[in-house]
Amino acid sequence: MENDLINITVEDQEGTVRDLEIPTDISLSLMEVLKASEYDILATCGGMALCATCHIQVLDDFELPAPGDDEADMLDTLHNAQSDSRLSCQIRITSELQGMRIKIIGAE
């Protein structure tokens, strides 16, 4: 099978960098994977793009599908959002994420 595992690199709020290996058929959002990997993310709203506590930055200009309206609206209200900010609950795990580096911002 091709691309059945992807690697992404995660920098947490303390600056610790770790690689995660994720099966592409896991059928989860990136937020759910980060939570399951014991990262300190509240995800209060459970993945509805409402609380922004799963805020991340996608580094190196890595190309992802553009955010939907709900996500873009929420990012727009965040004081600390950057041009590379995303809500990890709105990113599905797919083979397109192979090699991505992200930084967890979390709750403001």
């Binding site: 509240l42 209060t44 709203c45 459970g46 509805m48 409402l50 609380c51 922004a52 506590t53 873009a72 609206d73 929420m74 727009d76 209200t77 965040l78 004081h79 600390n80 959002a81 709750a107 403001e108």
Partner: protein, 334 residues
């Protein structure tokens, strides 16, 4: 003053089902919710979205589920306080509780059931140097009385609809209006964005795009704010008031101050009966946490049923509880 057996904080699907389960055991309920309508997130956030995991309904729209639940609990005549948030909870010596809302409504009860879902939506406070020091001294996160800004130098920050709307509104009232936004465009209503750009080009407001609010200064009261531009240079603007408008975020709010064990913004409970560490207070639905917790409506329903069995002993300490099926006994209105 409202006197009831059980006060349920939160009128979402789980809070409503708690009325049913406790109603079967002849306990009376009063519900209080910070939102102006019944239904919690389902009515406020996604009333038209279909839900697929309610047993017996292959699909049901969120608002329809709430409407059905209201019909289901009608025989038990629950009462409601809406648009108010419980601020204070006090436990009396006899084990009963007194709850007070932000509007001064007082509720006395024998059992408190927290079914608060995500918590209440509160203004998001940005990480800005000195911001909290000036809360109530020129910094506010919502506008209650626009007249208070007449002839003032007002700085707003944010890029959503409320930032745009208030900038337009205050432009006619305040002496000077500045809007700070981190991007160079607005996602809010295009009409409002255009109005703001027009006001700026007419010199009626100051529009600082690609800028970030960085610091707040003053002496007892705010007198200026620091703004970082794209190159991270800070400049200062005179201000009598600062209104950061960065959306709403779900927070536990005053619940966090009631001596309950909290883990990551959720209330720890015993899965035997979903009781908290404070006797007589239960937490059910999305607001609680325990090993294996799933934030599902149907799990909240289960939690409500088990909670009701334990709540009974606080409401009717002298009675013995006998478990009965609705198929045998029906629903006995009271």
């Amino acid at each position: 003053m409202i006197n009831t057996d059980i006060c349920i904080i939160g009128a979402g699907p789980v809070g409503l089902f708690a009325v049913f389960e406790t109603g079967l055991l002849k306990m009376r309920c009063h519900l209080i919710d910070a939102l102006p309508q019944i239904g919690g997130q389902l009515s406020e956030i996604y009333p038209h979205k279909p839900i697929y995991d309610i047993p017996g309904y292959p699909t049901i729209k969120a608002q329809e589920l709430i409407d059905n639940q209201m019909e289901q609990i009608a025989p038990f005549h629950p009462t409601f306080t809406l648009g108010e948030r419980v601020e204070k909870l006090e436990k009396l010596e006899d084990g009963s509780f007194v709850l007070t809302s932000n509007e001064g409504t007082v509720i006395t009860c024998k059992v408190v059931v927290i079914a608060g879902g995500l918590g209440s939506f509160e203004p998001r406070k940005p990480a800005v140097i000195g911001l909290e020091d000036f809360e109530g001294k020129g910094v506010s996160y919502m506008i209650k009385n626009p007249e208070a800004y007449r002839d003032q130098k007002v700085v707003l920050a944010g890029g959503g609809d409320s930032a745009l709307d208030w900038t337009i509104f205050l432009a006619d009232i305040a002496k000077e209006v500045t809007l700070i936004h981190r991007s160079d465009s607005f996602r809010g209503a295009p009409d409002s964005a255009e109005k703001v750009f027009n006001l700026a080009s007419q010199g009626k407001i100051r529009l600082l795009l690609q800028c970030n609010l960085n610091s707040v200064h003053g002496n007892g009261k705010i007198n200026k704010v620091g703004v970082l531009d794209k190159s991270k240079n800070e400049s200062f603007i005179e201000a009598d008031s600062l209104i950061p408008l960065f959306g709403l975020s779900p927070k536990l709010g005053p619940i966090a101050e009631w001596g309950l064990n909290i883990d990551k913004s959720a209330i720890e409970v015993n899965t035997f009966d979903f009781s908290t560490n404070v006797e007589g207070i239960f937490a059910i639905g999305d607001i609680n946490t325990y090993p294996g917790k799933l934030k599902l409506i149907l799990c909240g329903y289960h939690e409500a049923a088990l909670m009701a069995q334990s709540a009974f002993k606080y409401v009717f300490p002298d009675q013995k509880l006998s478990f009965k099926y609705t198929t045998v006994n029906g629903i006995n209105e009271f």
